[in-house]
């Protein structure tokens, strides 16, 4: 019995050793020839587990970006090559993945993973090795309060600033026309709460009274009681700090209770193509902040949309765009500084350059503060005539903002 167990363990060890060497040789094939071989970029993404859907979106964006760069002469005249590992949405796994990418595979650059929970441990590893860390998703405040001096968030705004344009628009109204009361319901999640509470802070400053303030756990399946509280308050505005299913369930529950707000804003869900499928014709007037839309006329965006659509058959969504943006940001720094290697001096030059410069990306021109927070705001979209359109800010608007939401 003992012998067979030993035997099995031996085979297992051999098999895993083979797999590991297989992985590593593909990662660091051209090491040694400094400046000659491709620029290798190490990434860990949640390709399985809780975040696998957005994780795969980010992967598509990264891969499309790499192919695009290689089709157009590469970076510093060298091809780029991605090594993507699967962290299974696991925070311990993501740290050891970056450790491996930097230490064993000897990658030249790293790109960030998806979502706050994974960005924080990954950024810590990158910081320990002095690596520049640009990340496509991780908008919650806690990402920027850990003392990372190497981190940059490649999107227009942090969670708290998502609704800034909407708050500005409400503030611009004559006092008599502003809403009087507001109800907030947010998922117990740093990103989702950040969006709703960012708007709450602004509205309270304007004197809009908070009549409901509910936080619910991510596993909430029944929204009847939350909807009952909101409906009972008869608030003028309802704000949902939501992901996806919670927003859809909440909206249906609110409709079942015949609650008719003058304004309804939900994060994330309304920009999802599945949303009108689920809600039907009652989407009219629903507001949502968005970090990206294929229609935006920023300089490189049209080319991105065309390249991506031809490659994947569908236009890019926000996850893909943020991944592409990450690529653009790092590439801009690399081209400007003229180096791309793991040497701490080169990495520090890249970090310093990004600290002081503006980068043109598919989500607009980006600049960052000292903690890596982007200094823009999100576009505000609204369902107008059954289509989701940009309504704010006015210079980017595709349709007029509907201030009095029709009944749903």
């Amino acid at each position: 019995m003992k012998v067979t167990t030993h035997h099995r363990l031996g085979v297992l060890a051999l098999a895993s050793a083979l797999t590991l060497t297989g992985c590593m040789s593909s990662g660091s094939s051209d090491e040694g020839e400094e400046g000659e071989g491709p620029i290798t970029i190490g990434i860990s993404l949640p390709l399985t587990g809780d975040f696998s859907e957005p994780g795969k979106g980010v992967q598509r964006g990264y891969e499309a970006w790499a192919d695009y760069v290689n089709d157009n002469g590469g970076l510093l005249g060298r091809d780029v090559e991605l090594t993507i590992l699967d962290d299974q949405s696991n925070a311990d796994r993501v740290a050891s993945d970056y450790e491996k990418l930097i230490n064993q595979d000897g990658v030249d650059l790293v790109f960030g993973p998806f979502s706050t929970r994974l960005v924080v441990p990954a950024a810590q590893v990158a910081k320990d090795y002095g690596f520049l860390f640009v990340e496509p998703a991780g908008a919650a405040e806690e990402v920027f309060t850990q003392g990372f001096d190497n981190l940059f968030y490649a999107a227009p705004a942090v969670a708290d600033d998502h609704y800034n344009y909407l708050a500005d628009a409400i503030e611009a109204l004559p006092e008599a026309e502003r809403p009087k009361t507001a109800a907030y319901a947010a998922m117990d999640d740093p990103f989702a709460m950040g969006t709703a509470y960012g708007l709450k802070t602004r509205l309270e400053e304007m004197g809009v009274e908070t009549v409901v303030d509910e936080v619910y756990p991510p596993n909430t399946t029944d929204f009847g009681s939350i909807a009952a509280k909101i409906a009972d308050s008869k608030a003028d505005v309802v704000v949902g700090g939501t992901q996806y299913q919670d927003a859809v369930n909440m909206i249906v529950s609110l409709r079942q209770l015949d609650y008719q707000p003058k304004m309804a804003a939900f994060s994330t869900a309304p920009t999802n193509p599945e949303f009108p499928e689920a809600i039907g014709d009652e989407t009219e007037g629903i507001l949502s902040p968005t970090g990206y839309t294929p229609e935006a006329d920023y300089p490189t965006n049209a080319e991105f949309v065309e390249y991506y659509t031809e490659r994947e058959g569908t236009p890019p969504a926000e996850d893909e765009a943020n991944a592409w943006t990450t690529g653009q940001v790092v590439a801009a720094a690399v081209e400007a500084v003229g180096c791309a290697d793991p040497d701490p001096e080169c990495q520090q030059q890249l970090i310093d350059w990004l600290r002081d410069n503006e980068v043109d990306t598919v989500v607009g021109p980006l600049t960052w503060d000292a903690e890596g927070r982007p200094e823009g705001a999100h576009l505000i979209q609204q369902y107008v005539d059954g289509e989701i359109r940009i309504v704010l800010p006015e210079d980017a608007a595709e349709a007029d903002l509907i201030l009095e939401k029709p009944e749903w």
Binding site: N219, T221, D222, S225, Q245, N249, V252, Q256, I279
Partner: protein, 292 residues
């Protein structure tokens, strides 16, 4: 006051749904001493089949029951005969946790593979409709789900009390050896009992799909509360499960007014701990659980 009354109405509707979803779970345990972790995975599977049926045919999701109920019954019988009956009786309860856990994972994986992880919702013309009753709104979809629960639990009760099969099933639950002595084929009865439990999952899943957004891993959010319900109600007792479901559903809905959603959810686990401390065999029925 109107918020209280509205929450009361919502709580009753929710309790009815909980009762339907938990009924099968307590039946498996009663008949077979099987802890069926995959019950909620089958609920989500039924919900997906209802969604798929409606998107493909455009017909009402309730019509999918014509297919899913017999399908789930047969699946249940086969699962019991081919898999669960092979577990050693001495370790059956323990090993059934492992076995059904793996079945839950397989179902979740298959749903993700076939339908992708995208979150789905059946689009119904009447999803936002409601009937007003003394100032409270009763959503039509929730009322249909409650009706389904009432009808199926009533039917289950009649089958168990009035038919010869029901008598044989109850005999099997109460004393398998004695049941065999008087000529009941307990193996076959257990298979049918399991099928019956899974058939309730088909109805429960369809009821669930009427008013919620579904995704493959949703079943993990359901299994905890459902397990708590059947323990509080007394393992193996269907009326017990129904009463516990109603009380906990009402409690959750009403506690949400003062405590908020997060704390209101803990009522299930508080009730579970209290039951295990004060009356481990459950508060209703549950003569059976004393033997464990």
């Amino acid at each position: 006051m109107s918020l209280f009354f509205q929450s009361l109405v919502l709580g009753v509707l929710l309790g009815g749904l909980y009762a339907l979803l938990a009924a099968g779970l307590t039946l498996y345990f009663g008949v077979m001493r099987v802890v069926m972790i995959a019950h909620s995975a089958f609920l989500i599977l039924a919900a997906y089949l209802a969604w798929f049926f409606t998107t493909e045919t455009g017909l009402d999701p309730l019509l999918s029951l014509v297919v899913t109920v017999p399908l789930f019954f047969v699946t249940g019988v086969l699962m019991q005969r081919l898999l669960i009956s092979r577990l050693r009786p001495a370790t059956l309860t323990m090993m059934s946790v492992l076995l059904t856990f793996s079945i839950a994972l397989v179902i979740e994986g298959m749903l993700g593979f076939v339908f992708s992880g995208t979150q789905r919702r059946i689009r119904l013309p009447y999803s936002g409709e409601s009937i007003e009753l003394f100032g409270a709104n009763i959503a039509v979809v929730k009322l249909i789900a409650f009706g389904l629960a009432a009808v199926s639990l009533g039917a289950l009760f009649l089958i168990l009390k009035m038919t010869q099969f029901g008598q044989a099933l109850r005999a099997t639950i109460q004393h398998p050896d004695a049941a065999r002595l008087i000529g009941i084929n307990t193996d076959r009865i257990a298979g049918y009992g399991f099928g019956l439990g899974l058939a309730t999952a088909a109805i429960g899943g369809t009821a669930l799909a009427l008013d919620s957004t579904i995704y493959p891993s949703l079943h993990w959010h359901w299994i905890g509360p459902l397990m708590a319900i059947i323990v509080v109600g007394g393992l193996g007792s269907i009326p017990g499960a129904a009463i516990a479901a109603m009380l906990l559903g009402l409690g959750q809905s009403l506690l949400q007014i003062p405590l908020g959603t997060t704390w209101a959810q803990t009522i299930f686990y508080v009730a579970l701990f209290a039951t295990l401390m004060v009356r481990p065999q459950g508060f209703f029925g549950g003569r059976l659980a004393q033997r464990f």
